[in-house]
Amino acid sequence: MIDRIQRLGHKTLSKLAAFGRSGQILLQSVVARPAPLMMLPLLIKQIYFVGVLSLVIIVVSGAFIGMVLGLQGYTILVDYGSEQAVGQMVALSLLRELAPVVTALLFAGRAGSALTAEIGLMKATEQLASLEMIGVDPLRRIIAPRLYAGFICMPLLSMIFAVVGIWGAAVVAIDWLGIYSGAYWANMQQSVDFWNDVVNGLIKAVVFGFVVTWIAVYQGYDCIPTSEGISQATTRTVVYSSLAVLGLDFILTALMFGDF
């Protein structure tokens, strides 16, 4: 019994310590005095890796999720004779929930795991240590550009996801199922509010981007530098990010749309 309590205490302490370390890494790499000239080319490269290379999966998933939404929405709404409302339904669910959440989950799987593995491998091959010995702070040189790239890319990817999704639903609803296109777009225009729906969705995307990138970078930087350690860290990145995104989504939704 005592043993169990002791283990629980030990686990809690080590989790707290890990949380502290991750905060330290975040502070030191983000708040540390920036060197824009050195940073810019590194940042652009990372935006390419984290953002541009994630485009394919985001666009394809966005299109299919939009198409499914259109199809499902139609089959339900047609019973009530209000199939014109498909546009409204698709736009609201994508902008408020699906775009930021699904993008964040895909982002964690595609970019987050890659970040963790890359940084972990740099640690295992002593590249981080050799940077330090050369007199370059790896937090500023390696971690900071990756963090910023994640912060910048995630909201953009989420917007692209929403746009492609709405377009995918339009293809299904208008071209295949024969809804009048004027009704589809007009309904959407009337019901979607810029601040309430678009901006709130964007805020979610910003928060998720921040959390996912932070977790990915920290797991890589703090991993045990062996092949087993890196694989564990990569798994943890995906699991923790997904859980954090889903949990935060509920909290943010409650704050934004809940009626307290």
Binding site: T125, E126, Q127, A129, S130, E132, M133, I134, G135, V136, D137
Partner: protein
């Protein structure tokens, strides 16, 4: 160095010491890795830190480089106490150090040229054509001027280590630290490295610290040797002195005997008893 001087008893004196470690302890978890180690690294010489695996030789280099902090004691680089420096001061001090990592630790996203140019670009404002000349000179010194355009993945282990050596000396550091430079090298690459370390040390006049357990290679180029075991310096001296030490522990290491004070067997229950018993082994 002439034979006469080697034969006389040489001890690094405070005047020609570049790094002085005083009464330093360091532990990892509950394991004490260093227990009051004191040693002096002489200026302009090749100093070897030797000892069996797991005695914390690499840890010592990391402590000198300020990547780890000792629990107590001092590590002074010409009077500056390295553990007491701020992060910023530490990065300045490190410009005077070059380190050759065991794995080479080349940056895998840059080619050989950019790897060697990296420290120069970071720490100086030199124009690009001058950087080019310096990089080619350093690569020529390690015999790899022809490999400038290759990526690290295209190099053999020995070549990667030589490129890493060129990078370590790119800024003409005062101290060059070698972490197990001979491990996993074929005999030719090993010979090349042994020669290079000695030649570069003489030509550039920096102080070299070699961490290794390759006895013959290290004894052939070191001016002074510290032998570590169980967190302590158990022997020190010139290669000749070390070969004549009577201590059994030192003998075992220098002659490479499989069994002795450092046992061949990891602590285990009695062999026959364990074989006969049906108890758990996993």
């Amino acid at each position: 160095m002439d034979a006469e001087k080697r034969a006389s008893v040489y001890r690094p004196s405070p005047q020609d010491t570049i790094i002085e470690v005083t009464d330093m302890t360091f532990s990892r978890g509950s394991r004490k890795i260093f227990d009051g180690v004191s040693l002096r690294i002489p200026k302009g010489k090749v100093t070897a830190i030797m000892g069996p695996s797991g005695t914390g030789k690499t840890t010592l280099l990391k402590l000198i480089g300020g990547q780890l902090l000792p629990d107590s004691g001092e590590i002074r680089l010409e009077g500056q106490n390295i553990p007491g420096l701020s992060r910023r001061e530490l990065f300045v001090v490190r410009e005077r150090m070059g380190m050759l990592f065991q794995s080479g630790a080349l940056f895998t996203d840059m080619n050989v040229f950019d790897n060697v140019a990296f420290p120069i670009r970071v720490h100086t404002q030199l124009p690009e054509d001058m950087i080019r000349d310096i990089v080619l000179m350093k690569l020529n010194a390690v015999g790899l001027r022809g490999a400038v355009k290759l990526m690290p993945s295209e190099l053999s282990g020995g070549m990667a280590r030589r490129v890493a050596l060129a990078r370590a000396i790119a800024l003409d550091p005062d101290i060059v630290m070698y972490d197990e430079p001979f491990t996993g090298q074929d005999p030719i690459a090993m010979g090349v490295l042994v020669n290079l370390i000695k030649r570069l040390n003489e030509a550039l006049g920096h102080s070299s610290i070699i961490v290794s357990h390759d006895i013959q290679e290290t004894l052939s180029i070191a001016d002074y040797i510290y032998l570590l075991s169980d967190g302590k310096v158990i022997a020190e001296g010139t290669p000749e002195e070390l070969r004549q030490v009577e201590s059994e522990k030192v003998r075992q290491f220098v002659e490479g005997l499989p069994d002795g004070p450092v046992p061949f067997h990891y602590p285990a229950p009695d062999y026959v008893e364990q074989l006969m018993s049906t108890g758990e082994t996993r």
